[in-house]
Structure formats: C-alpha cells, structure tokens
C-alpha cells in the first residue's frame, strides 16, 4: 500500500441499540497535518475512530484512502493500510511484555514460532529514534499510564503507520509528559504523518492542531482551520450553547477538622515506601488540593484514607475516630466518598448495567434493599432520576457501563459519589476526560458540596483546577507533603517549583 496522502470518511452512520452514535459524518485528514476531533462526551468521536480502525463496522458510509475506497474490517487491516490508533482506554494485555504486545499484531512468516528477538530489536530502534525510552522486556502491568501510551505509539510506529489516531492521549499524562508528546507529534508531522487528535483540553488543541472538526450528537456541526477560531467559539460549538467557568467565591470560614492524617507511612505494591510520614488535615467545608506530579504518592494517599491501602505506621482519623486499616465497607458507612483514578476498572464494573454501578455503594442500605432483597422499583426510579440530574448520557439505565463514552462513565461515578452526600470526599482527577461543559458542571457540584460542609481532598495535576477550586493546596513530592499553602498565596510558578521538589529558602 502506498503512503497515505489523504484519508477521508464519507457519510458514516453507526447505530447502537438505542443511540445513533454517528450520523452521516464526514472527515478528512491529510499527511503532515493535525486534525483535532472535538465534541462533548458521547458525541461519537471514539466510535468514529473505532470504525476507522476496523473495530466497529458502520451501518453505512465509505472510507477513502488517496481517493480510493477501502474496506477496513479489522484492526489488522487498518494497520496494514498504515492507520495506527492509541485508544482512550488502552488495548494492551497487562500480563504480557511490551514486545509480546507488539508481536500480537504481527503476521509471522512461520506459523509456529515468533521471532521475538527481532521484534524487540526493532522496538529498541524505534524507541531510540523517537526518544520514547521503553524497555521492551517489561510487563505492561508494571508500566505507568504514560509509559503504556508510549507502547501504543510504538505499536503504531512498528507497523509504519502514517495516519495516527490519538484518542484523548493527554487525559492521563503529567504536564511534562504532555509537553513531550506534543513535541514528538510536531516532529513526526514534519516527516509526513497525519494525525487525528481527540482532546477535551482546548488550549492543547489550539496549540497543536491545524484544523478542527466538531461533532455534536453524532453529527458534524463545525469545521474550520485553527487560525480562524478560538477556545470560546469551540466550546460553544461543542456544547451548542455558551459555556462559562464557574466563578469561585473564596471562603474564609471553615468547620472543624474532619479528616486528619498523622505521620502516615505506607508501602506500595512493590513493597517500597509510598507515603513517608504524611501529616494532613482537611476541615469541613474545605477543598484541600493536592498538587504534585502523579506517581509521588497520590494514589496511596487516596487509598489509605479510603481503606484500600494498608498503612504500617501512623494514624488516620475521620470525624474523630481512627479509620486506619479499617475495612473499606466500614469507612464507606462512616460517610466517605471516593472518586478513584481508574474509572473503568475501579470506579465502575464495566460489565454491570448503569443502574447497578449507580448503586454500587448503596445496594446494602434501605430503601435500596430490604433485609437482603433488592428493591428493583426503587432502584429504577432512583437511577433514572440520578442519570437525569447529573446528565449521564446513556441509552438507558440497563445499558452495560462499558458501552458508555469515557466522559459519561466519569459522570456516572461522580453522580454516585455525590448523590450519597458523604461527609468527606476524596476526588482523584475528577475531570479527566470530560468535556468543558462537564468540567464546569463537575466543578460547580464540588463547590456546592463544599458549601454544604463536605470536606474534599482534590487530587489533580491541573494547576488551573487546583488554584480555582482549592482553599488550601498541599504539595506532594516523593511520598511526602512538602508544604501546605493558602491558595491566596499560590501561583503557578510557585507551585511548579514545589512540585519539582524545590522549596523556597531551602536551596
């Protein structure tokens, strides 16, 4: 197959039971350019790209490469044609190594043996050439999110992709990793790669793309070169109405301490210290932000408070009582909410229906169940109203959760946690992968909860979000709390330094 000079999707329609995910959508990308594909959660971006990658078969429509029609009926075919894709939820086998994962897509000459050394060699070359820095003998399960993404990229490169689809590649990356990725993108575009870039972070979009295509409810609604538009216009086109970020009123009155960590030590899965003597207090009606590059102990911090992580020294008190190493159930019952980082495998059960996931923490209590019988009518009504109230877009509450769009899964988790009205909430990266309108909505909800006296621990890498929402910001660095500052005194550069481990006056 020749190099792809232009790729065009024409009149693509894709229906799922109860929804039309794409309706007569068209899209064109040429080599050497970045096309940003935008749209609200559930607009149909991922579906469209899965069609391009041969994972879904459209009900109608055509795909043209260099003006010739092609049939893409499997990812293998897509790779052969030169189309690579990095998925929103990665498609790697965790129990295999990097090399093996790449080899999965290869058709070897011999049917009985795989020349893995050769594959590993080529991966090494690629990762050197592209500065990706991946050890191909590692298991996927041992890699961080950013590293996994690099593996997906290597996989695409291995098959000489010259159209690359990136579905929300930066949603889970650290700011540093994001910068690296964008730099890398620029370099491969120069070499003639064509890129379809999906993101909800509009400043990034303005930064890297040449053109944008906006979808709403599965239809094309707007298309423009990037030079002729701006963030506000894009946000408006996506949502179909004006979007304004909430203005935050600073609070200066807080309640009593609700969560208190005292000299907490914990080890991670590999047996290394992941929290070293952490002290923190969260007050009622306060949002305490945790700033830090991910991987500095945030996960263990969130999980020790919610009971998923054992601590081996120190104490955690919630409403005055120790909850250190108590059962998860008892901490939930005491009034703790948790929006976990891993929304697909921890925050929800992908194979469960939307309604089952909505009651994941409530099924035990009345009126959701009596003695041990689930009250199906009550659950149905409750879930219907929750889905409406929080605008979780799904065909209906019996849809399996994995069929929801990424952002809507996030909203589902948020709605479940907030609707229970816990006394305290640990929120890890709550706006990851949600569209601007939903960001606004989630922030409003968090602020509202704060004003209703909930104590919130907000873990995020978005400095804007932190500064906007938090009342105080604690900086975590190498498993320790480096400093806690009042948001009024915080600015991006100061936080940036602290996140890099540099404390003023200590240089």
């Amino acid at each position: 197959m020749d190099k792809i000079k232009s790729l065009e999707m024409v009149n693509i329609t894709k229906k799922f039971p109860g929804v039309i995910a794409n309706k007569d959508v068209h899209l064109k990308v040429e080599s050497g350019e970045v096309l940003a594909l935008l749209g609200e959660n559930g607009a149909g971006k991922t579906t469209l790209m899965n069609i391009l990658y041969g994972l879904y078969h459209p009900n109608s429509g055509r795909i043209l490469i260099n003006d010739q029609e092609v049939k893409i009926d499997s990812p293998k075919k897509a790779l052969d044609l030169g189309i690579g894709m990095v998925h929103q939820h990665f498609m790697l086998v965790p129990s295999l190594t990097v090399t093996e994962n790449v080899a999965l897509g290869i058709k070897f000459k011999s049917k009985f043996s795989m020349d893995l050394d050769n594959v590993a060699q080529k991966i090494k070359l690629l990762s050197k050439k592209h500065d990706l820095n991946i050890d191909s003998s590692l298991l996927i399960s041992d890699l961080s999110v950013g590293e996994r993404q690099k593996v997906e990229i290597i996989k695409a490169l291995y098959f000489n992709a010259n159209i690359l689809v990136l579905d929300e590649p930066t949603a889970a990356l650290t700011p540093q990793e994001t910068d690296d990725l964008i730099k890398w993108l620029r370099s491969v575009i120069k070499e003639g790669m064509g890129v379809i870039f999906i993101s909800h972070k509009l400043n990034e979009v303005m930064n890297v793309s040449d053109r944008v295509e906006v979808l709403r409810n599965g239809k094309n609604v707007f298309s423009t070169p990037i030079s002729k538009t701006n963030i506000n216009q894009l946000a408006r086109k996506m949502a179909g109405h004006d979007v304004e970020l909430p203005t935050v009123e600073r609070k200066n009155k807080f309640g009593n301490t609700i969560i208190e960590l005292e000299n907490v030590w914990a080890k991670n899965e590999r047996g290394l210290d992941a929290l070293r003597g952490v002290n923190l207090t969260i007050r009622k009606g306060e949002i305490l932000g945790i700033a830090g590059v991910s991987g500095n102990g945030q996960k263990e911090l969130a999980e020790s408070i919610t009971g998923l992580q054992k601590i081996y020294k120190g104490d955690i008190r919630f409403k005055g009582e120790s909850i250190a190493n108590k059962s998860v159930q008892s901490i939930i019952d005491k009034g703790m909410g948790y929006i976990p980082e891993d929304r697909l495998h921890m925050g929800t059960i992908p194979g469960f229906k939307v309604k089952e996931n909505l009651i994941l923490k409530d099924y035990l209590r009345s009126p959701f169940s009596k003695i041990f019988l689930l009250d199906r009518t009550y659950i149905k009504d409750y879930c219907k109203s929750t889905v409406d109230e929080y605008d979780v877009r799904c065909p209906n509450i019996n849809t399996p959760t994995h069929a929801l769009s990424g952002g809507n899964i996030q909203k589902l988790i948020l709605s479940r946690e907030l609707k229970r009205e816990p006394d305290a909430l640990v929120a890890s990266y709550p706006i990851r992968g949600v569209d601007i309108a939903a960001v606004q909505y989630i922030h409003e909800k968090l602020l509202e909860a704060r004003d209703n006296d909930m104590g919130i621990l907000l873990i995020t890498e978005e400095l804007d979000e932190l500064i906007n929402l938090s009342d105080r910001i604690a900086v975590i660095y190498e498993d320790q709390i480096l400093d806690v500052i009042d948001t009024a005194e915080a600015d991006k550069s100061k936080l940036g330094l602290l996140m890099a481990g540099i404390k003023e006056g200590s240089r």
Binding site: L308, S327, V328, Q329, S330, I331, I332, D333, Y338, P340, D342, H345, M346, G347, T348, I349, P350, G351, F352, E356, L360, K361, Y363, L364, S369, F372, L373, L374, R376
Partner: protein, 361 residues
C-alpha cells in the same frame, strides 16, 4: 417482533443443521461398525420421546445435570471454574446416604430437608476448599478441583466398601460395595406408578433453579457475588470482601453438586453405590455452557442432555454396539450443538444468512 421470530427460526435452523451434521458423521462410525444408521438413530432420537419410559428416564437424568449445571453457573458468575462436580456429587451422596440411614424413624417432612442439607453442606465444603485455596493461596481452581476429585473418589470408595457397607452384604459374603437401602421415610416418591423412576426430586431441582436465579439477580448477596466475578478491583473499592465471595461462590457451587448426589441417592438408587455420579459432574459443565451459564437456561439444557443420554442407551440396546461408539456419537452431537452456540449468539451471522428477511430498524 418480526425480527424476534426470525431470531427464533434462525436458532432452530442452526441447531437442527448442526444436529444433522453430527448425525451424518456419526453414521460413518455406525456403518464401519456394521450397523444400519437409520435403525440406530430411530432408537436414539424417536424412542426416547415416544415412550413414557424414555421421557421419564430423560427427566431422571436431567435432575442431577440441572443441579450440577446450576452450580457451575454460580461459580462462573464469580469467574470460578468448577471442574470438581464429580467429587462433590460423590461426597454429597455418601454423606446424605449416611444421614438417611442414621434417622430411620424421623417423619419424611423433616427427614428429607435434613438429608438435602447434609448433602449440600458436604458438597459445599468440598467446593469451598478449592475456593479457599484460590482466595488465600492463589491455587488455580481448575487444578485444585480436579485433584479434589481424585481424593473424593477414593474416600467415597473407602466409605461404601468399609464403614458404610450394607451389613447384609457381609453376612451373605457377597461384598458388593454399596450401603444398605435407605429407609422409606427418607426417599422421594415416584411420580407415575407403573415402574417408572421419575421422582419428586425434579420439583426440588426446579425450585432451586428459580431460587438461585433470585439469589443471583435480586439479592444483595448475588449482587456482591457477581460484582466480584465481573471486576474484583471495583468490588473491593465498593467494600466487598472479594476473597469471601470467591469462597462462598465455590461453596454454593459444590453444594449444588452435593444436592445432585443426594437426589441420586434418595430419588433414584435408594442406596449409595459405585458409579452413582455417572460423570454428571463433567456433563453438567456442558449443560451449564449450553444453558448460557444461567440457572434458568440450565433447565431446558439439562432436559435436552437427559434425552441425549437415554437416547444413547436405547441405541446401544437396539443395535448392540460397543458403548465406546455410543459415547463417541454422543460426543459428536454435544460438540456440534455447543459449537453452534457461536452462531446463535452472534447477530452478525443471523444477519448474514437471514438478513434479507429482516426489517430495517
């Protein structure tokens, strides 16, 4: 509506075709053995459904299959694979038999529930061991259940040859390894007189199928069990003790097989004897798969397999061929039917073959 009818038609069509294909292959085997396939198949397919005896025997066999199938389905909902049905049946049976012999005077209405409970408990413990080994020691349950089968089998033989052997076998010096006959107050009634074996145990099995359906989908217990199977990480996040529910799923699963053994003792043989488990522990896996690992789906699946089993027996008697051949033909049919499941479940194929009949939606 129309598409639903098409779906049903399609399923029937696929099943019949695969059935016929299996029979065609089978007829090659029969011809080689020097038997007229038509005579053999007449005995295998027509006779079971055209006589009271055939239907009764098919039902008799479907009962243990149903119980084991339900058990497998429960285990599967927590993503555990229970290959240990044989051992669980045997130990459930021998425990139930011992219990029945121990309470001769107790009225039926009390005796039978006690006996079933004993069979359930012992089968459940045997399954639970595998669950515990999985949860606490990460021992693969396929491995442990198979090993536990060997242990159970030896234990079973020891018990019915030794401590539990019918005293009259010793007195008369015959020494057949079986227990004494169960007291009348502990056995299920026959449903139709004229010497047919179908017994009231079938109602127990049907009730249990429905109860298990309710347990899995309408109770908090089932919610947890399924959550653990679908995504342990999320279950843990939601406060569910994953280990506990893995074990409980295996206990229930083993318990169901234990009841299967119990019913065989107090419903069919009225003694505990050698060969009682009759491979139901393995056939039950096929039944469960064919019933889509759903306790209600298992009901028709077990009846179908009951028919198949009795059909094979009748064929063997009719044309007098070695039982190994019968088993292989039976295997062919099972293979064909189970593999056609792929076609049944995937709407793509339906569309491909019968799409021209469908309405566009």
């Amino acid at each position: 509506m129309r598409n639903n009818i098409i779906k049903i038609l399609f399923n029937i069509l696929v099943l019949s075709i695969s059935f016929i294909v299996a029979l065609l292959f089978g007829s090659i085997i029969l011809l080689i053995a020097g038997v007229n396939p038509l005579v053999a198949y007449q005995a295998m397919i027509i006779r079971p459904i055209s006589s009271v005896y055939g239907l009764s025997e098919a039902l008799v066999r479907s009962i243990p299959l149903m119980m084991v199938g339900i058990g497998i389905s429960i285990a599967f909902r927590s993503k555990m694979i229970n290959i240990g049905g044989e051992g669980q049946i045997q130990l459930g049976a021998v425990a139930a038999g011992a219990a029945a012999l121990a309470i001769p005077g107790v009225p039926k209405a009390i005796a039978i529930p006690i006996i079933i409970l004993v069979g359930f408990t012992v089968g459940g413990i045997w399954g639970g061991i595998a669950g515990w080994m999985k949860a606490k020691l990460s021992v693969n349950e396929v491995l442990s259940t198979v090993m536990l089968n060997y242990i159970a089998f030896q234990l079973y033989l020891f018990l019915i040859r030794g401590p539990l052997i019918d005293p009259s076998e010793i007195a008369w010096g015959t020494g057949v390894p079986q227990t004494a006959r169960m007291p009348d107050s502990t056995i299920f009634e026959r449903l139709i007189q004229q010497g047919q074996r179908i017994h009231s145990g079938i109602f127990i099995a049907l009730i249990i199928a429905i109860l298990v359906y309710f347990l899995l989908w309408r109770t908090t217990f089932g919610f947890r069990l399924r959550a653990v199977g679908e995504e342990p990480k999320a279950a843990n996040y939601a406060g569910i003790k994953v280990d506990k529910y893995l074990i409980l799923a295996m206990v229930l699963s083993g318990g169901m097989a234990g009841i299967a053994g119990t019913i065989e003792v107090i419903g069919v043989h009225h003694r505990v004897l050698e060969g009682l488990s009759a491979n139901y522990g393995f056939s039950g896996i096929v039944v469960a798969l064919f019933g889509r690992l759903h306790p209600i789906g298992v009901i028709p699946a077990s009846f179908f397999f009951g028919l198949l089993l009795i059909g094979a027996e009748m064929m063997q008697r009719a044309v007098n061929i070695p039982s190994a051949l019968v088993i292989s033909i039976q295997g062919l049919v099972i293979l064909a039917v189970v593999s056609s499941n792929l076609l049944l479940e995937n709407p793509k194929y339906r569309k491909k073959f019968l799409g021209f009949l469908m309405q566009n939606n």
